[in-house]
């Protein structure tokens, strides 16, 4: 089993003709994902390596039945691309784009209220259900099908954790990158809830970062709801306050959003914490034995 995406997901790529969009659509298709359409305004009727192109998301959906969109559109236009997907009533929008202005995302969130579409990201590596579907930029080959769920704000740090898990024979059910931006479509709680209900997931790895309070809120939720073991790591314990550490959302402001506060919240919630990024896989082994 899995959460969010699987073998039957039908994916349309927005921004398919750009450098990122074209490269990753090819990679995802090679992995086995149903990359069935692309949106490139003005190029409707043309093709990209056999994938039909459309002028709009709704046209793509109508002709191909696409139910998931992955967005590689540049920052000035990405918020609009998300809203277009939501308006076309797709099931899922996965926005890879980094650099979307915060106020644009505020508008997107307001636009999305009451609408069906789930947004993952922005500024995220995407979602993968190993062995079934890969939608995003993560390296498919380090993932192994299995029963550990992974949810993370990070990109390469997630791959590091997945790599450790795979080496120990702990395959993954689904891995979700929720992204590094301060305002996003799907947060830790949403994914933990899905993993909690997923019959194919036994335990979850949760990777957080400094900035904001998403991890603390997730820990409150975990305390009251989570029935499966959670292993947690927070990066940025060594980061200076007030500086944006790469990700727009990774900033300690006014003394809050520190790694330490998040580690403490995790410990209080019964999360199996590791303070070393090199021991995430090992900690999961320990957690599963208990």
């Amino acid at each position: 089993m899995s959460i969010l995406i699987n073998k039957s997901s039908k994916v349309v790529t927005q921004g398919i003709t750009g450098k990122s969009g074209s490269f990753h659509t090819r990679m995802c298709r090679e992995y086995g994902t149903n990359m069935i359409a692309g949106v490139a305004p003005g190029k409707g009727g043309q093709e990209f390596e056999g994938i039909p192109l459309f002028n709009s998301v709704s046209a793509a959906k109508e002709k191909t039945g696409a139910n998931v969109s992955v967005i590689y559109v540049p920052p000035p236009f990405a918020a609009d691309a998300i809203m277009e997907t939501v308006d076309a009533d797709l099931d899922l929008a996965i926005c890879i784009t980094e650099g979307i202005p915060v106020l644009d995302m505020l508008k997107v969130q307001q636009f999305m209220r009451g609408k069906r579409t789930r947004l993952i990201g922005p500024n995220c590596p995407g979602v993968i259900t190993p062995g079934e579907a890969k939608i995003g930029i993560m390296p498919g080959h380090i993932h192994k099908p299995g029963r550990i769920g992974v949810v993370s704000r990070s990109g390469t740090l997630t791959y590091e954790a997945v790599f450790q898990l795979s080496l120990l024979g702990l395959g993954q059910s689904s891995c979700v990158g929720i992204g590094g931006d301060p305002l996003n479509g799907t947060n830790f709680i949403d994914c933990l809830d899905l993993f909690n209900k997923d019959t194919g997931t036994d335990a979850v790895v949760m990777i957080g970062e400094i900035g904001g309070s998403a991890e603390e809120e997730a820990c409150d939720w975990i305390k009251s709801n989570m029935k499966k073991p959670v292993v947690g790591f927070i990066c940025g314990a060594s980061a200076p306050p007030g500086r944006r550490m790469g990700h727009a959302g990774a900033i300690i402001s006014g003394g809050s959003g520190t790694a330490d506060a998040k580690f403490i919240a995790m410990e209080k919630a019964g999360v199996f914490v590791t303070r070393s990024p090199a021991e995430i896989g090992k900690r999961m082994q320990e957690a599963l034995r208990k």
Partner: protein, 387 residues
């Protein structure tokens, strides 16, 4: 991106906000002339640096005459201001803003920020103006009110009433407050501010409001659509390595330690700094070479790391997903050769084409210590640097 007080006030003045006249000055002579041009009466000489707490540190002085303004400017210009926000090194003052004085009756606090938890623009207000708001939040949180602004509605009239009540204003003053708050909000949204802090928002003895100080941070992600704001970047306030890195498309932050780090991905870069610290070492920087880095970018990254004289060793931790390990290895080899790297270099590669990458490194003839895991890599670099 941070704006200086004088720049923030320039932007805000376009929104009909009550801002005193002021002149930017680089020399004591200019300060005296400015005080004179402002009417020769009471004025305030303020250091222009990207940090709060200037007043307590001696960076803000009241001058009763133009001659006093010259004396104040003499003291402030060239001084190194150390405030809780500048860090121990402090910030050198290159310019001052000479502003017309006003008759302060009351001081309030008003700020606007994109509030992640509430998913809205939040207005934070307190009757305790002129003070450190974090102090107030800590000791008297009940003195702070926070309002969420609805994007479609803007600042509602009932919210202005709430602010007026929080400030203890009568209805006449609350009426005047309305245009101030609405103007600030429009400036915030129009210019993609991430944070706007007015501390203090003054009520004068004549019952008028004055925006006496303004601290603004613009959303970096939005600078592409505000070229006039981007042009306000103060290069004196940015570390030269940070600047060089951003020109090369790298994300770099200089820190205090001696172990240079080169990593792909912000989360992994932070985690690498963390594990170095755990092993008893001290990271010299945060550096994310990003997902699309080329051989050239890797070379440039190396150059920036090596330009930091404090760097006594370098740890490269690259997880090659999109980035292929052999490409990274090429970049490392070429850079290390070109720059004759003398400091210990530990390289940990994983991911796409990892075996090819490792092979290239081992055959390069360079003194590179390989590592399999992050743990091994951090342990090796920390002990190499301690020798």
């Amino acid at each position: 991106m941070n704006l200086h007080e004088y720049q923030a006030k320039h932007v805000l003045s376009g929104y009909g906000l009550p801002i005193s006249d002021g002149v930017l000055c680089y020399t004591p002579g200019e300060a005296e002339a400015a005080a004179d041009a402002l009417g020769g009466g009471v004025c305030v000489v303020k250091a222009q640096v990207h940090a709060g707490g200037r007043g307590k540190a001696g960076g803000v002085k009241v001058a009763k005459t133009p001659a006093d303004a010259r004396i104040a400017a003499e003291k402030i210009l060239g001084m190194t201001l150390v405030t809780p926000q500048t860090g121990a090194a402090g910030k050198k003052v290159h310019k001052v803003y000479v502003e017309q004085g006003c008759n302060i009756a009351k001081e309030f606090y008003l700020s606007m920020v994109v509030d992640r938890a509430r998913r809205s623009v939040a207005i934070v207000a307190s009757k305790e103006g002129g003070m450190d708001i974090e102090e107030v939040a800590h000791s008297n949180p009940e003195k702070i009110i926070t309002l969420s602004v609805n994007l479609a509605v803007g600042v509602a009239a009932f919210q202005v009433q709430q602010l007026g009540a929080a400030y203890g204003l009568d209805s006449a003053a609350t009426k005047k407050l309305r245009s101030v708050v609405e103007g600030l909000y429009r400036a915030f949204v129009d210019n993609d501010f991430a944070m706007l802090e007015i501390n203090p928002l003054v009520l004068t003895a004549d019952g008028e409001f004055v925006v006496l100080d303004a601290k603004v941070a613009v959303d970096d992600n939005a600078l592409f659509r505000h070229p006039e704001l981007r042009a306000m970047m103060d290069y004196d306030e940015v570390d030269s390595k940070d600047l060089r890195a951003s020109k090369a498309g790298l994300s770099y932050i200089a820190l205090d330690g001696n172990i240079g780090c080169m990593v792909n991905g912000a989360g992994l870069a932070m985690a690498t700094m963390d594990i170095i610290q755990q092993k008893g070492g001290s990271p010299a920087n945060f550096l994310d070479v990003g997902g699309g880095a080329t051989r050239e970018t890797v070379t440039e990254a190396f150059k920036i790391l090596l330009s930091d004289s404090q760097v006594k060793g370098i740890l490269v931790n690259i997880f090659g997903g999109i980035m292929k390990c052999d490409v990274i290895a090429q970049g490392i080899i070429e850079a290390a050769r070109e720059l004759s790297v003398k400091v210990p270099l530990v390289v940990r590669l994983q991911g796409t084409n990892v075996e090819l990458g490792k092979e290239l490194l081992s055959k390069s003839g360079l003194n590179i210590q390989p590592a399999e895991t992050m743990d091994e890599a951090a342990t090796k670099i920390v002990s190499s640097v301690k020798k």
